[in-house]
């Protein structure tokens, strides 16, 4: 029996102001998702946003391909160390832990991340239709997973809210999320 339930959520699910330009779908908190966690008595912890902490608010649109470099991975590893400290704290205390990322994000994607075709880079000339949602994790989530593995802590049961998809549908996302929450327990210490 878990001592309690905790959800580690992508930073922007509590703060849409952190999103790259044109991708904030709500003013602040993504209430339809956060509300479901509160209804089910999850403690909410906010993951750091590696993008705002490295490139700030006026950053360019970016893809996983661009972020997949040693410097950005090192930045994410640094964040992963102190984030894993907190996850480990809950794990050792016997909490059920889930992770809710941001599918389609080059950093915070869990099931899907973002690539481009052709690969972006150099002079900015991106169009949104070049941004492809592809299966896989974002760089930040990958580095967090590696840090947890190195500590012998299983990666939490996780999903992503597909808010970076151009065809994002909140009702559909909430329904999917309810199904995720209704499934078996997450990682438990």
């Amino acid at each position: 029996m878990a001592k309690g339930k905790v959800a580690f959520v992508a930073h922007c699910l509590l703060n849409q102001n952190a999103k790259v330009a044109e991708f904030a779908r709500l003013p602040g908190v993504v209430s339809p998702i956060i509300g479901k966690l509160r209804e089910k008595d999850f403690i909410i912890e906010q993951l750091p946003c590696p993008e705002i902490l490295a490139m700030g608010l006026t950053r360019w649109w970016t893809t996983r391909d661009i972020y997949d470099n040693p410097g950005y991975r090192r930045h994410c590893r640094n964040l992963a160390k102190f984030t894993a400290d907190l996850i480990e704290d809950y794990y050792r205390r016997g909490f059920e832990i889930i992770l809710v990322g941001l599918d389609g994000s080059p950093s915070s994607g869990v099931r899907y991340t973002g690539s481009s075709d052709p690969i972006w880079g150099g002079r900015p000339q991106a169009t949104v239709d070049q941004y492809k949602i592809v299966p896989g994790k974002g760089i930040w989530i990958e580095e967090l997973e590696k840090e947890l593995q190195s500590r012998g802590i299983p990666f939490p049961r996780a999903t992503g809210i597909p808010m970076d998809s151009q065809d994002f549908d909140m009702d559909k996302a909430v329904k999917e999320f309810e199904e995720f929450l209704g499934e078996s327990s997450g990682v438990q210490g």
């Binding site: 309690g4 999103k19 904030a24 779908r25 003013p27 602040g28 908190v29 403690i43 750091p48 102190f82």
Partner: protein, 139 residues
């Protein structure tokens, strides 16, 4: 928008340009045995469209808190520099206004940011439902 960077960049989305740094007590009132009014305070913050940056919980080892404080201070600087409205929300009935708030204050002071808004709201303002109005009047 005061800042030319933000004026120059049109975000073209639904963001509010308003952010509050809050203690764990406001996001997770249940584990502190807080009454229903704190849950309602969170809901009002949501309704008014504030984005939230949450501070770490009380039980995290002091030695492990530092990077979270640095990260919060970095974000305060970035949002402020870009002309977003950002403040730290403190509660008058909690020590230091909330867990780790004095550490955040010290971090900002070390960076030479002395004038940053730490807004304190009282239990009475929360009970009456006027707390968020007070926050909105900050800017």
């Amino acid at each position: 928008m005061k800042n030319s960077w933000v004026r120059a960049l049109e975000f073209r989305d639904k963001r509010s340009f308003r952010v509050l740094i809050v203690s764990d007590y406001i996001v997770n009132p249940g584990r502190y045995g807080a009454d229903l009014s704190i849950k309602k305070l969170f809901e009002r913050i949501e309704e008014r469209g504030f984005g939230i940056i949450k501070m770490p919980p009380i039980h995290l080892d002091q030695k492990k808190v530092e990077p979270w404080i640095v990260s919060a201070a970095d974000q305060i600087q970035e949002y402020s520099n870009r002309g977003f409205k950002i403040a730290v929300l403190c509660l008058s009935f909690l020590q230091d206004g909330g867990v780790w708030m004095s550490r955040l204050r010290d971090e900002l002071k070390e960076r030479g940011i002395d004038s940053f808004k730490f807004e304190t709201i009282s239990e009475e303002e929360i009970q009456k439902g006027t707390a968020v109005n007070k926050i909105e009047q900050l800017w």
